[in-house]
Amino acid sequence: MNNFEKAWKQISQEMNTRDISPKTNYGRSTDSAMLISQIRKKLKLGMGWTLFFLLALFAVAVMHLGEPQILMVVGAGILLMWSSLLASRRYYLKIKNQPHVARDTKSMLIDYYNWVVKLLRMERIWTQFAIPCYLILGLLYGQLRTHGSFDQIVFDGRMLVITALLMVVVVPLVIVWVSWSQKYAYRKDLEDLEAAIEDLGNNHES
């Protein structure tokens, strides 16, 4: 071990003579280099799209101000979007406000792991719940525009078949795609985090 320490001292002496680059910018993150930055970016992008669709739904609502039944359907869509936006925002701020790297390593890694897992789970559950809901709302909106009110809607066989097909084909496809893209994007990170937590977690290794 003396050799390690001697070599390390030499390394330290050499490194201590190096200064901080004059181009140093304390306020600039490399952004893509940190897993947490990617999670925040993902959340931000998601919130951007949600906001866009929310505004679009508001525009649709304004177009149908005099039609209470259509407004009800559009309002349900707005409520769904709004709750998604609030949940994402809350999660985003929670992650953003943590001085995560200044804590002990194990807690930081566990938090990191939980954040990623929770975000992915939230996304998966939301997809499974929200897509069928939007599909039904879209269908009702289309029918209300054609027939004028709920009482006059007649669900013909062709439309029911199309709806059923969308439910059994499109919804599972989207769910599979979300799961696959999550796996592709985060599997390595999760494996690394799990391995690091396990490395720190075994207190009585032989």
């Binding site: 050799n3 390394i11 600039r28 993150s29 280099a33 990617q38 995560h100 390593t105």
Partner: protein, 164 residues
């Protein structure tokens, strides 16, 4: 944060620049990754500076931030592996952190370790006690001791391979 805090921070960082260089040296091996990790550690340090309570030395706090940042740092080229000895043994032409001899051999040997072990051995070589290492990493004092013993054995083996 006002200018006074920024100046204090800059002065402390300059005094402890060697810590950042060492962390970068053992966690990043391409020029691009080194520059990114270096910048990211500075950024994370500045961002977390408000959490520095002055109850420990700045150098200890900076080690914690630097090593934690390096631990969750994502390399741009995910195909480039740190874990293979053959790759880390070859000094890169543009590698600013290495010179031949024992220092290079030690850094190369440390780079072959898993990320968590690199962190533990770095803290040990810096002279931190098992208790301090335990507090910084979140493991028990005994576990830190066991791990350090095992890592030293691994390093010896790797250095023997390098020497031969």
């Amino acid at each position: 944060m006002d200018q006074r805090i920024r100046d204090t921070f800059s002065a402390q960082i300059s005094e402890n620049a060697g810590i950042i260089h060492k962390v970068v040296a053992i966690y990043a091996d391409t020029r691009e990754d080194q520059e990114d990790l270096y910048q990211e550690i500075l950024y994370q340090s500045w961002k977390s500076y408000a959490s520095f309570r002055h109850d420990s030395k700045f150098s200890t706090w900076l080690y914690r931030v630097g090593l934690n940042t390096a631990l969750v740092f994502r390399r741009k080229d995910a195909r480039h592996s740190h874990s293979q000895l053959d790759e880390t043994m070859t000094p890169h032409a543009d590698d600013s952190y290495e010179s031949c001899d024992d220092r290079h051999a030690l850094i190369a040997a440390i780079r072959t370790l898993p990320k968590v072990e690199r962190m533990i051995i770095t803290l040990h070589l810096e002279g931190y006690t098992y208790k301090e290492i335990g507090e910084m990493t979140g493991i028990s004092k005994d576990n830190a001791g066991i791990k350090i013993h095992r890592i030293k054995n691994k390093l010896s083996e790797t250095l023997k391979k390098i020497a031969s």
